[in-house]
Symmetry: C2
Subunit: 224 residues, 2 copies
DNA sequence: GTCAAGAATTTTGTATACAAATTTGACTTC
DNA sequence: GAAGTCAAATTTGTATACAAAATTCTTGAC
């Protein structure tokens, strides 16, 4: 019972979301300080709810809150990014390991359906549609881990890495490869092979080899 | 650069820590509402920093913040607890997998030293000392994963589960068994066997078989 | 010209005051 | 007597005012 989709009209919520977007978008540069008075006024609220929003973002790691100094946006650097992907890979592997034993038939159908739409998106050459279905694919696996806590944590990290994962798909041939990996993952889940599911999901998410260079390249371009 | 041990004198920090303790200790019952005005006064501060503290605790999952209703302490129930231990086991397994390849010789010595002190604690029949060294053992492995992000996440969850892990050690024979598992883990790390390290750490942390019943029993007694 | 010390200014942290929303209780009605 | 409705009273959410800390700018000495 986690305040299911109730439309909260709290200013703090709205601002936290907005700031999150602006940080993801790169509107705010990396070390930039978020001026409380200026931005609060810009959002049309007082400092109190604005600071609440900052508090939350600091716990998500998007801003660093230095005592008596202010809030600074904190984009992950190359090292931290690699680390986060490493953890993401392990989390997805864990989800896959559990899901192999716990997934429902309906969910398997949903995965297959998502993959079909993925393939259609590739044929249309539509990376956005592909990304949307890819997202759905992974969310299903999180949920089917049968572990709500794990699903939540995986979702959190996924959200944080979203812009970077998205970027990765724009590289030539990656969508097709990703597609094949998806199908191998479903196959492992269908046959209930926990280790294979874990291994394939880890490999699917892990940033290694060519993917590593591509990530670094995208980082460099983002920095300019 | 995450504000390393700097002694912050912010009220919000102090109160967040204090509340955390009180919730862990079970001073606050499960669904209990945390009255802002009463508790803020009790802590000798105004509502503003007190609410900041609540915000943080809500993001750690220790309290649920219902809009326009208040803050309610949220002790994990049996299901969530099992789920959290499941994730903890996977995280430690991941730490072990990485550490097997990345651990330093000094850290291996530290692990052996911690184990020696563990054994001494058992001989003295001192569960508190054992727990302290056990904690150290695991923290070393987190750090030696060579992944600061993973180490941080593992540490967070470890902290959250601390009271329950501690309780587990009080059961007859568990310390000795835990000790053996520690040594098997070190052995795997020494030989650089990533899969063995992961497997053994997962098994060490996982709550299954007899441990499950014990956890349930301790929960029941805590509820009364 | 550079560096240091200190005052002025800016900015964060906290307290208080006010507004909005929810809960509670009384009163009415069936 | 029970249920519904409306008003009073809490209680949360937000704005503003004040205090404390840090930064910046000025001023003076070497």
């Amino acid at each position: 019972m986690v305040n299911g989709g109730k439309m909260t009209k709290r200013h703090a919520d709205r601002i936290a979301k907005a700031l999150e977007e602006l940080i993801f978008d790169g509107t705010f540069a990396n070390g930039e300080r978020l001026d409380e008075v200026r931005l609060a006024e810009q959002f049309g609220v007082s400092r109190t709810p604005f600071r609440e929003a900052l508090q939350r973002l600091s716990l998500s790691g998007l801003v660093e809150l230095v005592p008596h100094r202010g809030a600074f946006v904190r984009q992950p650097g190359p090292v931290e990014l690699i680390e986060m992907f490493e953890v993401m890979a392990e989390m997805e592997a864990a989800c896959g390991r559990f899901a192999a034993m716990r997934i429902s038939d309906e969910a398997l159908d949903d995965l297959r359906a998502a993959n079909v739409r993925c393939r259609e998106a590739i044929e249309r050459g539509d990376p956005d549609a592909y990304y949307a279905e890819n997202e759905r694919f992974h969310q299903i696996i999180y949920a089917q881990s049968g572990n709500a806590f794990l699903a939540q944590e995986a979702g959190r990290l996924h959200k944080r890495l979203r812009p970077f994962r998205r970027q990765q798909l724009r590289f030539r041939g990656r969508m097709a490869q990703s597609m094949e990996e998806h199908e191998a993952i479903v196959e492992a889940l269908v046959s209930g092979d926990a280790e294979a599911a874990a291994l394939r999901l880890r490999g699917h998410v892990a940033v290694q080899g060519e993917k590593f260079h591509r990530l670094m390249a995208s980082l460099r371009s983002a920095a300019e």
